[in-house]
């Protein structure tokens, strides 16, 4: 039962990442850069690096999650990434910036709904990470 739940969780998370990547890669990176810049957290070069690299990283992580490869590396990275997004969104929300979150393209305001959605994704990623480490421990114990 737990194994099946793990499988569903990582596939859902993986597809969410692939979808998020697709919405960004379907438009010029300069358009996503506008969303990143509106957080007012990064210097110009940082905005450019994030806008160009993040969609590809999301795509790679999403595919790895769905495939279940290198899960004990991928899952903690995904958890950390989502937690980072959540902190940035909370910061923007508390400062009253009223900006778009930039999560899935344009048009989603940072607010309680997006914060709750991202928090749920962090929990889901944490669950997948826990499962990945349990599975790894179990396989090393059986190998020993």
């Amino acid at each position: 039962m737990r194994v099946r739940a793990q499988l569903v969780a990582r596939c859902v998370l993986g597809l969410v990442f692939v979808y998020a990547a697709w919405t960004k890669l379907a438009q010029p990176w300069e358009r996503f850069a506008l969303s990143v810049d509106s957080y007012r957290l990064l210097p110009e070069w940082g905005v450019i690096v994030v806008a160009r690299a993040l969609p590809w990283l999301e795509l790679l992580l999403g595919l790895l999650l769905v495939a279940g490869w290198l899960l004990h590396y991928v899952a903690p990275l995904v958890t950390a990434l989502l937690a980072g997004f959540w902190v940035a969104m909370l910061w923007a929300y508390l400062r009253g910036l009223g900006i778009d979150c930039g999560c899935f393209g344009i048009g989603q305001a940072v607010g309680p709904a997006t914060l709750l959605r991202d928090a749920l994704l962090v929990v889901l990623a944490g669950f997948v990470t826990l499962g990945a480490f349990r599975a790894r421990r179990a396989s090393s114990a059986s190998a020993a």
Binding site: E30, R31, L34, S38, G98, I106, A109
Partner: protein
Amino acid sequence: MRTAFRLCVLLVLPALAALPAVAQQGKRFGALDAPITVEVFSDMQCPACATYHLETLRPLMKDYVATGKVFLIFRLTVNHRHSYRAARYMNAAALAGLFEKASEVLFEKQKLWSETGDVEAALAAGLTEVEMARIREQLDAQEIEQAIEADRALARTFQVRSTPTTFIRHRGETTPVVGVVSYAILRRYLDRLLEGSP
């Protein structure tokens, strides 16, 4: 030769001086046939709008609007305590052909008049007596209230939920940008759009 030079000085230079840096009509700037239209919803009392106006829109005006690449439209929303009063003065300034200068003055002195509500004193500190007289002349014009209401209605239509909100239009596609973005990043996006323009 000397006569030709004098003629040039007498006729051409005053004509050049009379030309505005950017074609202005009310709260619209630039060439109507520019490939990109940028429509900005601001509130004169919103601090983020001041940052956006002074750090992003000012250079945009110089590099993109004055060069015919962008047609810039300002819309004023009234969400703060003294915003309505400021919007009245700004729309009067627009009728007097002084919107650009007046907006710079009010945004630069925003902290001052946001506390006191004395928009006129803040404007007077940055404009000449003649310019102030031109704005005062327009203050009671019927168009002021109509312009404020029109901007409000447009903000509702476009679902502007916070300021500044910018709509970048190019070839029938609209990109909404909510919040402040730096000029360096905005210009990269505009340049990308212009790459495909004739």
